[in-house]
C-alpha cells in the first residue's frame, strides 16, 4: 500500500515544479508569434519573411486564448482577469503604433471582452464543479 502512495506523491511533485513556468512561457511564445514580423524585420532574417506574419493579426491573437483559459482553469476568475489584462497590454503597442489595418483598437477590445468572458465563465464553471464534488 505504501508504494503507490509514494509514487503518487512523487508524480505530483514532479508535475508541480514546472507549473509556475507554464503561464509565463505561454505568454512569451504567444507574444513572439504576435510580434514575429517586427522581430524578423529588426533582425534582418529575410528567409523568414512570410506573409502570414504581416497581415491582420486576428489569427495570432487567437493564440492568447491558451494562456487565458489555462489561467482560468488553474487560478480562477482572478487569474483569468490578470492574464486577460496582461494580454491586452501585449496587444496595445501593435494596435496603437504598428497596425495599418482599420480599427485595430476596436478589434483588440472585442477580442479581450470575448476572451475575458470565456475565461471568467470557465473559472466559474470549474469552481461550481469543484463545489459539487465536495
Amino acid at each position: 500500500m505504501a508504494l503507490p502512495e509514494k509514487e503518487s506523491t512523487d508524480d505530483s511533485s514532479r508535475i508541480r515544479w514546472y507549473r509556475p513556468f507554464i503561464l509565463p512561457l505561454l505568454l512569451i511564445i504567444c507574444s513572439l508569434i504576435y510580434y514575429f514580423g517586427e522581430l524578423v524585420d529588426w533582425a534582418g532574417w529575410s528567409a523568414l519573411h512570410l506573409d502570414f506574419f504581416y497581415g491582420v493579426h486576428d489569427v495570432q491573437r487567437l493564440l492568447f486564448f491558451a494562456p487565458i483559459i489555462y489561467a482560468s482553469y488553474t487560478a480562477g476568475v482572478r487569474g483569468a482577469i490578470i492574464i486577460t489584462m496582461v494580454s491586452l497590454l501585449i496587444f496595445l503597442p501593435r494596435a496603437f503604433f504598428i497596425s495599418t489595418y482599420p480599427d485595430p483598437v476596436l478589434r483588440v477590445i472585442l477580442f479581450v471582452i470575448v476572451a475575458g468572458s470565456v475565461g471568467v465563465l470557465i473559472a466559474r464553471l470549474r469552481s461550481q464543479i469543484g463545489n459539487a464534488k465536495k
Partner: protein
C-alpha cells in the same frame, strides 16, 4: 488625432487600474512579500503604470498558481 490619444490613455488607464486593484488586494491579504515590506510594492503598483504590476506578478507568481501553497514550497506533502 486628439480623440485617438484620449482613447489610448483611457484604455491604458483601465488596464493599469484593473491590474492595480487586483494586485493591491492580493498585497493587502498577503502575509509575506518579496523584500519584506509592503509599502514599496504598493507604491510601485500604483505609480509605475502596468510595469509595476508586471514586476509584482513576476516576483509573486503564486497568485496565478494557488495550488502551489506555502506548504508545498516547504516540502510538506501532507494532504
Amino acid at each position: 488625432m486628439q480623440l485617438e490619444w484620449v482613447l489610448r490613455i483611457v484604455l491604458f488607464g483601465i488596464v493599469h487600474w484593473v491590474l492595480a486593484g487586483i494586485l493591491l488586494q492580493d498585497l493587502a491579504t498577503r502575509k509575506k512579500v518579496f523584500g519584506g515590506k509592503k509599502a514599496p510594492w504598493a507604491v510601485a503598483i500604483i505609480f509605475i503604470p502596468c510595469f509595476g504590476s508586471l514586476v509584482y506578478l513576476a516576483f509573486h507568481p503564486d497568485i496565478l498558481n494557488p495550488g502551489i501553497s506555502r506548504r508545498d514550497r516547504d516540502g510538506d506533502d501532507r494532504p
